[in-house]
């Protein structure tokens, strides 16, 4: 029992600390990109306590439930959304010494659990009994279901090369620094098709975690707040938390699959479990940073263009890529 609680507490701590840092960080990055300062007051040094202050504010806010909303579903949706992304952290290998649950179908489990996110978004959109929420929920359902296909296809490409569904095993086989004599043995350097796979994967996770240019479900200039329109206070904060957690989860998955997970880029130098955690988070956060960078640079796509990109470009490309990777594996 105690072991289960510890395994539950560690990812939760990581998510919560990360969310506080990332929300502050995103505002700082946005400020930096836009020639302004961002939060500067709360807590002294560069407003580091801003997210904590925001959180305290949100806890105190009134929890409004619209009269005609479906009460149970409305209340339940944000927690289900967070639970889905939180549960997926169980199979992420944070360092060589720690993984929540060492199951052999890790990748499969992760993709299956994150699919629940879609459900909770529809739930929130529909239960709010608001037309804008409904439109947001519908858009998001269409988007997430579509983009799961290329994500899975690219993850499958990696699994094909790695030969395992266990993320720990996938990471372990990326140790060492022998590729072309100097590069780390990360999967992205292993064959050219995996670079293509990574690009498709990254575009797909942008769409799956609702980031610009694919942030249609909550595009505030079109759908007001999308499925979050009617939410307030802590329930809204749960959506926010789940969204940031999802972003981290998919980035960490990308780091594990393509960038060697907790392996140090310098071979044995700065190796070991503690440094492993450092490298792993660094790689994940770098991907998160790129997502934020994109967000503050690009406009957003329209919903039909989004579907066009997914079904007409990314899905065929990812399957062709899968076949070519298989051929490469057979030949070399």
């Amino acid at each position: 029992m105690a072991a289960i609680l510890i395994h539950a507490a560690i990812p939760l701590t990581i998510i919560l600390v990360y969310a506080l840092v990332a929300i502050w960080g995103e505002r700082k990055i946005a400020g930096f990109i836009q020639d302004r300062l961002g939060p500067m007051r709360v807590g002294g040094w560069h407003g580091w306590a801003q997210s904590i202050a925001d959180l305290l504010k949100l806890i105190q806010k009134e929890d409004i439930i619209p009269t005609n909303a479906s009460r149970f579903l409305f209340k339940f949706a944000p927690f289900m959304m967070f639970a889905a992304s939180y549960a997926a952290f169980a199979v992420i290998p944070f360092s060589s010494a720690y993984i929540g649950s060492m199951i052999n179908i890790g990748v499969f489990y992760l993709l299956a659990v994150t699919s629940i996110l879609t459900l909770s978004v529809i739930m929130a959109g529909w239960a709010s009994n608001n037309k804008w929420s409904l439109l947001g929920g519908m858009r998001s359902a269409a988007q997430m279901v579509s983009y799961e296909v290329p994500t899975i296809a690219t993850v499958l490409t990696v699994v094909l090369v790695a030969g395992s569904l266990n993320l720990m095993t996938v990471t372990e086989m990326q140790a060492g620094n022998d590729t072309l004599g100097f590069l780390p043995n990360w999967l992205i350097f292993q064959n050219p098709f995996l670079i293509v796979a990574f690009i498709i994967f990254f575009i797909s996770i942008l769409a799956e975690s609702h980031r610009v240019p694919f942030d249609l479900p909550e595009s505030e200039s079109e759908l007001v707040g999308g499925y979050q329109t009617e939410y307030s206070g802590m329930r809204w904060a749960m959506f926010m938390l789940a969204e940031y957690a999802d972003m981290l989860l998919l980035s960490l998955l990308g780091a594990t699959l393509f960038f060697g997970g907790w392996n140090s880029p310098f071979g044995d130098f700065m190796g070991g479990p503690a440094w492993g955690f450092f490298w792993f988070m660094l790689k994940g956060l770098l991907l998160v940073f790129v997502m934020m960078w994109i967000r503050w640079t690009l406009p957003r796509y329209r919903v039909d263009q989004l579907m066009h990109i997914c079904w007409n470009i990314l899905i065929p490309l990812s399957f062709i890529n899968l076949v070519l990777t298989a051929l490469w594996e057979v030949i070399f």
């Binding site: 037309k131 200039s221 640079t297 690009l298 957003r300």
Partner: protein
């Protein structure tokens, strides 16, 4: 939920309210949309949320000059241009001579204001499409213009600076150097804007072939300004019906080209505004060269204005289009009637014609591209 059955297709349609508190209706516009899925089958704009009885107020004033601050508040994004139209109308009505120096200062101020207004317009347009950062970059530039205005007039938004046959006060001694400096620093920014936003692939995909306004429809609805020019019509009152001293300057009239899509789409309207900023810079440069350093900023006119009985209609080119003032005098001290022909109001009526059959997301783009200011729509 309000649902209607479409007579044409037999589909169930949903009536949805966009605004008055929607983030991208640029103020308090309310659009009643009838949706078939996400496709718009009908748009009905509802206005009047910002009605401040401009015309009635104008009739109640005991002096023609006292109307000027109210003109500011019509289109609060380009207040100088609104004042400009009104004072020109009065000057023509009273047949007053305006000092040379005043005319130059007015033109420089009006063109600076045009740039500021376009910066806001295209910045907000980008924001509607999800591009957040260009909006703030453009706002930085707009701030510089507002700083110049603040030095000159003491205000940043509503200036009350133009007076009948003159100006309220002379410009700040540094006005010339400030403006020249701004022109110099602003030119490269237009290129940066084109790199970052105008020719961005996603931006083009969102705006090309959307909300196409054919030339004929534009004429039928009496469109003017960038909206009309976006449809490829070379019509600019500064050239076609010159007022003030605009006939002395050399500048081009940019028109829509259909470069990335169809002629008269959202991108064309957007691009006309971008190109117009360059032309405004050209006018400012020429005006700075020609501006006399010394001279009166107020003509000798009687303290109390009394017009002869009669009426006048004067149209000027505001950043949004043809701004007309129709003034009727009955010989008393206060105007008998002041009517403003607001381009935003006219363009808003275009909305149902050009947005049928588009998606909600396009609706946002179309509203952004016609660049309305609700203060001017409702007056």
């Amino acid at each position: 939920m309000i649902e209607v059955i479409s007579k044409e297709t037999g589909n169930k349609e949903m009536v949805i309210n966009m605004g008055p508190q929607h983030p991208s209706t640029h103020g308090v516009l309310r659009l009643e949309l009838v949706l078939d899925g996400e496709i718009i089958t009908k748009v009905r704009p509802h206005i009047g949320y910002l009605h401040r009885c401009f015309e009635k107020y104008a009739e109640q004033m005991d002096d023609y000059a006292k109307v000027i601050p109210y003109t500011d508040r019509m289109d609060y994004v380009s207040a100088i241009n609104q004042e400009h139209g009104y004072v020109i109308a009065l000057e023509r009505m009273l047949e007053l001579e305006v000092p040379e120096r005043v005319e130059y200062i007015r033109v420089i101020m009006a063109e600076l204001q045009r740039i500021a207004s376009h910066l806001l317009g295209i910045g907000a347009f980008g924001l509607d499409l999800g591009a957040f950062s260009p909006f703030l970059y453009l706002f930085t530039e707009r701030e510089k213009i507002l700083d110049i205005f603040e030095k000159v007039t003491g205000a940043r938004l509503l200036y009350n600076y133009f007076a009948v046959a003159g100006l309220m006060r002379d410009v700040h001694p540094e006005f010339k150097t400030d403006t020249a400096e701004f022109v110099k620093t602003f030119r490269p920014k237009i290129k940066e804007l084109n790199d970052l936003l105008s020719y961005n692939k996603i931006f083009i995909q969102r705006t090309a072939n959307i909300g196409v306004l054919p030339e004929k429809v534009a004429f039928n609805y009496a469109a003017s300004g960038p909206v009309l020019r976006g449809s490829g019509v070379k019509w600019d009152l500064r050239k076609n019906d010159p007022y003030s001293i605009y006939d002395r300057f050399e500048f081009d009239i940019p028109v829509g080209t259909g470069e990335v899509g169809t002629l008269g789409d959202c991108w064309d309207r957007y691009m006309v505004r971008v190109k117009e900023m360059e032309q405004s810079l050209r006018i400012i440069e020429q005006a700075l060269d020609g501006m006399p350093d010394e001279g009166d900023v107020m003509a000798a006119i009687p303290k109390r204005i009394r017009a002869k009985e009669g009426e006048i209609y004067v149209r000027t080119e505001s950043p949004r289009g043809e701004l007309g003032y129709y003034i009727v005098s009955d010989k008393s001290a206060s105007p008998f009637r002041v009517k403003a022909r607001a381009p935003s109001f006219v363009h808003l009526s275009l909305l149902p014609a050009i947005s049928r059959g588009s998606l909600i997301a396009d609706m946002v783009a179309i509203v952004g591209s016609i660049d309305i200011v609700l203060g001017e729509v409702d007056r």
